[in-house]
């Protein structure tokens, strides 16, 4: 066991050395678009399960679920970003994200079509997001990066999970 572990640790070390500017993102798709979130904010990835509806909230706030004893809201990003509405199947994926500072941590689940990859990104290669118009609020996007010729939009988790912001954008 120990022998096997050693080279891995070494690899990591070199890896870190090389990638001083690197940040890792979890990428996922919404419709045909590809998005990424800081991987350190991802708590877990779950499959879709029925939610309890919350009355009188925007329709993209799907409801709440019981996540090991705490009540966690589920947001459908596809609906939030006004992409085509997809069916919920057991294969639908919920990415559980964490936000907040040391004072108050919040946990929230976002519904996405598929989770694709973990990408390592050189910070210096991140470009500022141009104005997208109405579809996705610019505020929620930290920047753009291209991975294998595909554009990945990097989402700002803190802003994404601030429900007040979501609601304001909606109204």
């Amino acid at each position: 066991m120990i022998k096997e572990a050693k080279p891995t640790a070494g690899d990591n070390y070199h890896h870190n050395q090389q990638m001083d500017n690197a940040v890792q993102y979890l990428s996922f798709t919404l419709g045909k678009e590809e998005y990424g979130v800081d991987i350190l904010r991802v708590q877990e990835i779950r499959s879709w399960e029925p939610v309890s509806r919350i009355p009188n909230v925007p329709s993209y706030e799907k409801g709440v679920v019981n996540l090991r004893g705490s009540i966690v809201p589920i947001i459908d990003l596809r609906e939030k970003f006004k992409l085509k509405i997809a069916e919920y199947t057991p294969l639908t994926v919920v990415v559980v994200l964490q936000t907040g500072d040391s004072n108050k941590m919040r946990t929230m689940g976002v519904v996405v079509d598929t989770v694709s990859d973990v990408i390592s990104v050189d910070k210096t290669l991140i470009q500022n997001a141009p104005d997208f118009g109405a579809k996705v609020s610019n505020e929620l996007i930290n920047g753009l990066i291209s991975v294998n010729e595909r554009m990945v939009m990097l989402l700002d988790v803190d802003k994404l999970l601030k429900l007040e912001v979501l609601d304001q954008n909606d109204s």
């Binding site: 309890s52 009355p55 009188n56 709440v64 679920v65 019981n66 009540i71 966690v72 919040r106 929230m108």
Partner: protein, 695 residues
């Protein structure tokens, strides 16, 4: 270090509470030495602890208290009411000091100095404090002699042999734990001691740091004591002061009387053991003043750094929990065995195991909840002091009886119930109990009684405040409410409804506003607070006999008795306390009100109907017909209304979870819970729902 500090503060506050209740229990005529011992121990451990943590201000202060208590304990000093009052005031002051330190704020030095002064007056007498804190008469006489020297501004030659010592301590001498007074006392044992204080360097009052030693002394020890002995006394302060010991020659030079030339500082010649008592705060404080403690800055303190909250748990409770966990583990392994090679003949065993697991889980849940339970005495114990202070202030004679102090209630309830109770007790003291003369005229005993009682009743805790005062006057209440424009004239009220008037905002019957009660902002807030805890409050009163105010509170804020109801596919929980009844309704009972929806007639009362599926936008089978559902009649803040739901599912205890922790507040919903199947159900907030539907 800081983790110990938190414990230290907790212990201090506990000690202070013990001291306070001890002081209140002291009977002047009949001193119980055990009680004094308890108070002394409290002061002693605070002194010890604060010394260890470097809170020398506190240590210094408690030292004076301790000295006073020590003399009382040994019987050298009589226990007087003034002494008790001074000590009570000092307890307050200490509490304030400790709170300030805990919140890393500056200690109110003025009030501290005041109390210390009061204590010293008590200890040495007013004159003693002014002139000298050394209890030796001999020395104070000598001092007077020295004063004369000063005023004559002329050196008096003393023919005796001795030593002249220039003692100039550094600022932080006191912080090293050295006390000049103790040293002077030792010097005085060697021979007659003449001291001259140089207060030139004492800063202005506001710049003064009581932990700094700003005074220098010129000392003369008369007599033929060897130099070694004097040096030995100063042994401990070597390095913390400038010291110059010269033999005192017969024809001594003029003493260095810089004192008079000191700019604006009044020359003080004293053996002061405390540089804190700067000029200006001398013995002009009467020991009675402690009642007027500056209570300001409380609010700020509260909002300041939030101390981590902790709870003290009886070890027995924890042992019980560990036992239960052990049982659960055993049951689990037993079930594991059953499951490993399961065959139908093992069904009996499996059922038995599951039943056991259920029982253990329930016990475990109860055990865990039990940890949060504290005896209500945590709240009650503060009231003897409150009653003592206020009754003295009002000139009333009042006895406070506490019943059922050991009744246990959730910690959160304990914390939140304090303010409402303080308000209610003040009301009883101020408005309830009459003045002694009035009481005698009414044929009642001169001393009024307030009884504070707590007991459990059906999953609730009931707290009753009973006074034998003059009770509520229905006519007066109604007249007052009419005058304030709160109700229509000629309204007819039952007793109960009339008493309810005092909960209306802006209602106060006190003819004169006192600083104790009567501003009319109280009772409605009290009721709101209690309702926010999920409780209710009721008044029973008889004119001339007294008033009882009963508060019903849930035992815990974490669990709620709920009725689950179905609306479409959703399940909601209605708190059982707010449900009056549930009925099937017929078309005949319904009335349409233009623009205001439907009402429903129940025993001569029209009750508005809230259709749950409409207000919550749920797809429901009986969207069209009201009569197909079930109407749950609920009460919120005194108003009835009917919730139309599809079905009643069952009653159960639910654990309340916050929606706001990860989400946000939702109107009409007070929280959520997790049902047996793992799904989430929302708990309805009945008053909120009513407000929401009215919009």
């Amino acid at each position: 270090m800081s983790q110990f500090q938190q414990v230290f503060f907790e212990e201090c506050f506990e000690g202070l509470e013990a001291m306070e209740s001890g002081l209140l229990n002291l009977d002047i005529g009949n001193i119980d030495s055990e009680v004094i011992n308890t108070i002394f121990r409290g002061a002693h451990s605070i002194k010890g602890g604060s010394g260890t943590f470097g809170f020398f201000g506190v240590a210094d202060f408690t030292h004076v208290m301790e000295t006073l208590l020590d003399e009382m304990r040994d019987g050298r000093r009589k226990v007087t009411q003034t002494a008790i009052d001074v000590l009570l005031g000092s307890v307050d002051c200490l509490r304030e000091m400790l709170t300030s330190i805990q919140h890393e704020q500056n200690v109110e030095e003025i009030s501290v100095a005041k109390y210390k002064q009061a204590l010293e007056i008590e200890l040495y007498g007013a004159a003693g404090v002014r002139a000298s804190t050394l209890p030796s008469e001999n020395n104070s006489k000598k001092e007077k002699a020295e004063v004369k020297i000063l005023s004559d501004d002329k050196a008096v030659e003393l023919s005796q042999q001795g030593w002249k010592i220039a003692f100039c301590p550094y600022l932080d001498l006191l912080k090293t734990g050295n006390d000049p007074v103790r040293m002077f006392r030792e010097l005085a044992e060697l021979g007659e001691l003449i001291t001259l204080a140089n207060v030139q360097d004492v800063p202005g009052f506001y710049e003064l740091d009581p932990e700094e030693c700003n005074i220098a002394w010129d000392l003369k020890v008369l007599g033929e004591s060897p130099l070694a002995e004097i040096k030995e006394i100063f042994n401990w302060v070597e390095g913390d002061c400038e010291l110059d010991i010269q033999p005192l020659v017969v024809k001594s030079a003029k003493p260095a009387l810089v004192v008079n030339k000191a700019a604006d500082a009044e020359p003080v010649i004293t053996l002061a053991d405390k540089p804190a008592s700067a000029p200006g705060i001398n013995a002009d404080i009467i020991p009675d003043t402690p009642a007027t403690v500056p209570q300001h800055k409380r609010e700020e303190t509260k909002s300041a750094i939030k101390a981590s909250s902790s709870i003290r748990v009886d070890t027995a409770k924890i042992d019980a929990l560990i036992n239960m966990v052990g049982e659960v583990v055993i049951t689990q392994s037993m079930l594991g065995l059953v499951g490993e090679n399961f065959a139908m003949e093992k069904v009996g065993q499996l059922k038995k195991g599951l039943a056991q697991l259920e029982r253990h889980t329930r016990d475990l849940q109860q055990g865990v909840m039990n940890i949060r339970m504290l005896p209500i005495s945590f709240v009650f114990s503060r009231f003897p002091r409150l009653v003592h202070d206020i009754s003295t202030k009002l000139g009333k004679k009042i006895e406070l009886k506490l019943v059922g102090e050991q009744t246990e209630v959730d910690k959160a309830v304990v914390e939140l119930i304090n303010d409402p109770l303080v308000h209610l007790i003040r009301n009883s003291l101020d408005h309830g109990i009459e003045m002694p003369a009035e009481r005698i005229a009414a044929g009642k005993p001169e001393t009024g009684t307030i009884e504070l009682k707590a007991y459990h009743r059906g999953g609730h805790i009931v707290i009753e405040i009973t006074d034998d005062g003059h009770g509520l006057d229905k006519k007066k209440l109604i007249a007052k409410a009419v005058e304030k424009g709160l109700i229509e004239e000629n309204s007819i009220f039952t007793d109960k409804q009339a008493f309810e008037l005092i909960f209306m905002p802006g209602f106060s019957t006190a003819e004169q506003l006192t600083d104790i009660s009567g501003r009319g902002v109280g009772m409605d807030v009290v009721r709101k607070n209690i309702q926010s805890l999920g409780g209710n409050i009721e008044i029973i009163s008889e004119l001339g006999k007294g008033t009882t105010i009963a508060i019903h509170l849930p035992l815990t804020l974490a669990i709620l008795d709920g009725q689950s109801v179905a609306v479409g596919d959703e399940t909601y929980i209605v708190p059982l306390v707010s449900i009056i009844e549930s009925i099937n309704i017929t078309e005949k009972m319904l009335n349409k009100v233009a623009g205001k929806g439907e009402t429903f007639r129940l025993r001569n009362q029209y009750i508005p109907i809230i259709r749950m599926h409409e207000i919550f936008n749920v797809r429901s089978v009986n969207r069209e017909k009201t009569t197909e559902g079930i109407l749950v009649i609920v009460e919120g803040q005194g108003i009835l209304c009917g919730l139309l739901v599809d079905d009643l599912l069952g009653q159960q205890q639910v654990v309340i979870k916050s929606l706001e922790a990860n989400y946000r507040r939702i109107e009409g919903v007070s929280g959520a819970t997790i049902l047996g199947d793992g799904s989430v159900a929302l708990i309805l907030d009945v008053p909120g729902l009513m407000r929401f539907s009215n919009r």
